[in-house]
Symmetry: C3
Subunit: 398 residues, 3 copies
């Protein structure tokens, strides 16, 4: 993109009603369509700037806090890349893994890590019923610290995956879709199949499928959610997605087989997750660090999973999709049959064909995160971006 | 502050006799009053610059080494924030926790990590009789490496807490006091109660109370040190504080109860610490990684602690202070009764009233650390700061 | 060096035939003499720039990935220092230690960590037959990702020590030699003794001695490789070194005692390593995390080592070298008799005399790494360096 094309993109922010300044990005469904769209635009602007060798560095110094309560390679790199791109140094907040802080400790820690901080990324997806709550508690503490004049500014919290939503993933996924289909408006009427898939592992969080249906339902898409009996998602999220789908001019329905879901789909997202009840049962075991109990739960869960090995995204199933050419999506890493495991979520030949697409899908995440941070920190995002563009510092002098 | 007000503050460094260039900051009592005052001034200048959106970035690249031999969240963040503010990238030196390097290893490691380094922060407070020694050993190795031309410059060592002193804490505490009371000179004649307080934990280092009495005694304050029998501090530090108090026109006395100490106090600092002898006994157990021995010691120590549960900063005790309105201080986290524990150092209602003050107190630490680094590295600190001010780079382009 | 002297040094790159752009630096013997020489020149230029307070920062933002499959302090600091000097933020890729990823996982991870990355440093020296392979697999994945348009640029992989070579060490060692003797051309005809030495530890990788003979043989040196029976290096590397030695107008021979090797040597490099067969036996044990098996192997290996305690670099042995004044080299840390152990690789008095030389030797590593990165990323390295010189940004505003 040329500088003037980037400016045009920035100008498309005009007229969007945003209330993101000094706020957090926790759930996509708390954000208005304008705010969602603005996030996509800012992400595209930042990417275009970098590709045009214009540094989108906002800060000469500043701290970004990363708080991962779960292991992660790709989200960690996405967050680090996003923060570094904007000029922030990442400092890990490393608490005990089985211990979730509450009350006074959260309030205090949130302030102690924020004197010179601009953003806080939190990943907390293992504890159903707790991750989102914790992120809100941090946000509240920051509000209070800022109001009391203890903090010079309000750092913005970015949800890097909670028990409820995974907005950096779903937003990256949909920015990919927007580019793939030629615009967000092209998604209207497209059929997306969010379906469970078999995996020889257990305990995968619900936040990805929840994030997908929670966001897909904003664009008038026809959503089919499919999973075996017992693999429900959080009921409130499903309900909300149904309402949103209708409101946006799309539809939402459930299916009981992958075949049914794939039928005539434009997009398929076959991905394993743990049953809702198992995730609930797991929480007290994790807190108690009850290894025997966790092993036991894993065993029974895997035995149950094994009944649904036919929930695999095979070539046969892909043929059921629109013209046999639906776009395959995955948040990665996928469990690939005969590659990463004996039987998994997807056949090797299917994955092979879409590998580069899934990589491209992932490549949007750093920019989505950077956009979320910028929108939480800039009072007038378009003015800030224009300033960056006009400054025109080179990112690389190679 | 406006630019010209900041320049006025910088100008107040004129006439101060400083011998800090290429030296370390290990103990406040090794520093002259001019040097202490200069550290406060530089910290205030750096904070004012950042608040005026003027970047105090000294380096375009450079390494800061963090060497934490003990877990720490707030000091880690303070150090990271300080270094990042000045433009340094933090690289952790992660040695085994129970193993303290000596001799050749220290000499060699100190040089190996310093080829492109500007500052080294060391926290080593668990081993009574060793932490300070280790920091000096590192400093000596750096002197030799620089003298031999092996190192292009002499990195400055900042004591992030040793067995003897905790200067980044005490200096932040006193910068807070200076702002609270309207100037360092206002501290003369103020009564400060540094008292032990009950905590259901053990092994807390002596360096905070030692740091407080060692620094309070420089400003003509009336110091009362109170603790139960057996909870002595390092005798040499107490003695030195007594001498300093007299020399600075203040006083130093001991009390055997919190009530006595709080009586008519302007400032109270109730905080738990381990008995001197327990800290001594602990060292060989830590070295031997003798978990059983440590458990045993902890048990007996906690049993002893429990005799002094009435050493709690309650509303009743606060009423004894000057007009019932002494400033409560704490290095955080405090053990708050009925909040973080059943019985602790401070009553919830007292802590509540002073929460924001303790947060503000903590907020000075990054600037104090940055000031220590700058003073160890700049030959003419006032000239360096003026250069930064005149350069006027924006820290944020938001 | 003045700016114009630095420019002259940059100009000496002219005419060198380089094929390093978008390539990796894995083994010195895959690089042409022009490429080796260019790496030394760029390292010297970067060092001179920094010493002249000219920032060689290439990037305003960007990620460097560090992937250490083995603990390391000095290489970690060298890599961090190099990356920071060029403007990169280091993000650790922390995989399980006993688990080496293969195939799909490597391909995917390599792409996932590289969307905004410029360089990837990998240390993987414990697994004979695997480290180099892994590094190539990463490189191949990056080639594919870049070709597919998934990656905006091709990050360059730097071998921070593999099972085969340790090019950042050997190149730093030889840059030290070039400076010590007054130029690379002065190395022709110099005798270097790469000899095994006794150490009370086991499992030290073969990559240092292999790296030394693999590089020394490029400069027409007379190489003597000495070790006790059974302490062979990888046969292919020895063979290749022999051929290279002859081709460059030098010589290569083997000796069976340290005395023989030291005789009339200009340079001695006495350093312990594990026997080839032991390193091979160790691989499956490491993979299986077989602690008992590893202990057993260690025991038998140490017992065998103990037969060769006289392989120590003593004053007596140093007297055998040219005029008794050969340059002692070591990659550090050395096992120093009566200092770091009872009996080790080198006598304390010998090490003492050469300590500063070994530190100086180590000081080149950050610049060698930075040069490797720059050469992997800059299409026209001389133009890039000239641009940095002309920009003339201060590294420090002290």
């Amino acid at each position: 993109m040329t500088k003037s094309e980037i400016q045009t993109l920035i100008d498309s922010l005009a007229g969007k009603k945003l209330d993101m300044f000094r706020k957090d990005f926790l759930l996509t469904w708390e954000k208005s369509r304008d705010e969602i769209d603005a996030t996509f635009i800012v992400a595209d602007v930042l990417r275009a700037m970098r590709e045009a060798n214009i540094s989108p560095r906002l800060w000469d110094s500043g701290i970004a806090v990363s708080n991962f309560r779960d292991n992660s390679t790709r989200t960690r790199f996405s967050f680090a890349s996003a923060c570094d791109l904007l000029g922030l140094y990442i400092q890990d907040l490393d608490e005990g893994k089985s211990q979730i802080a509450h009350g006074e400790t959260v309030r205090e820690t949130a302030n102690m890590i924020s004197f010179l901080s601009e953003a806080i990324g939190i990943r907390d997806d293992m504890y159903l019923g707790e991750g989102d709550k914790y992120q809100r508690e941090v946000g509240k503490a920051l509000d209070e610290g800022f109001a009391a004049g203890v903090l010079p500014d309000r750092p913005t919290v970015v949800n890097l995956q909670s028990d409820i939503d995974h907005p950096t993933q779903s937003m990256a996924d949909f920015l990919h879709l927007a580019h793939y289909f030629g615009g967000l408006d092209k998604l209207k009427g497209k059929k997306i199949a969010m379906t469970w898939a078999y995996s020889p592992s257990y305990g995968k969080p619900l936040s990805v499928p929840q994030g997908i249906i929670g966001l897909a339902s904003r664009f008038g898409m026809d959503i089919v959610l499919a999973h075996p009996e017992g693999y429900d998602l959080i009921p409130e999220v499903v309900e909300l997605s149904q309402k949103q789908a209708t409101a946006s001019g799309g539809s939402f329905r459930r299916a009981t087989s992958m075949d049914e879901a794939f039928n005539d789909a434009d997009i398929v997202y076959p991905k394993s997750w743990a049953p809702y009840n198992v995730m609930l049962e797991r929480v007290p075991l994790l807190h108690a660090n009850d290894q025997a109990g966790l092993k036991e739960l894993e065993k029974s869960c895997l035995a149950n999973n094994a009944k649904f090995k036919d929930w695999e995204c095979t070539e046969e199933k892909m043929k059921l999709t629109k013209a046999g050419k639906a776009l395959y999506m995955h948040c990665l890493p996928a469990d690939i049959t005969d590659v990463s495991c004996k039987a998994g979520e997807v056949a090797a030949s299917v994955f092979d064909r879409y590998r580069d697409d899934t990589y491209r899908e992932a490549s949007y995440k750093p920019y989505i995160i950077a956009a979320m941070i910028l929108l939480g920190k800039a009072k007038d995002p378009a003015a800030t971006l224009t300033r960056l563009l006009e400054r025109g510092s080179a990112r690389s002098v190679l």
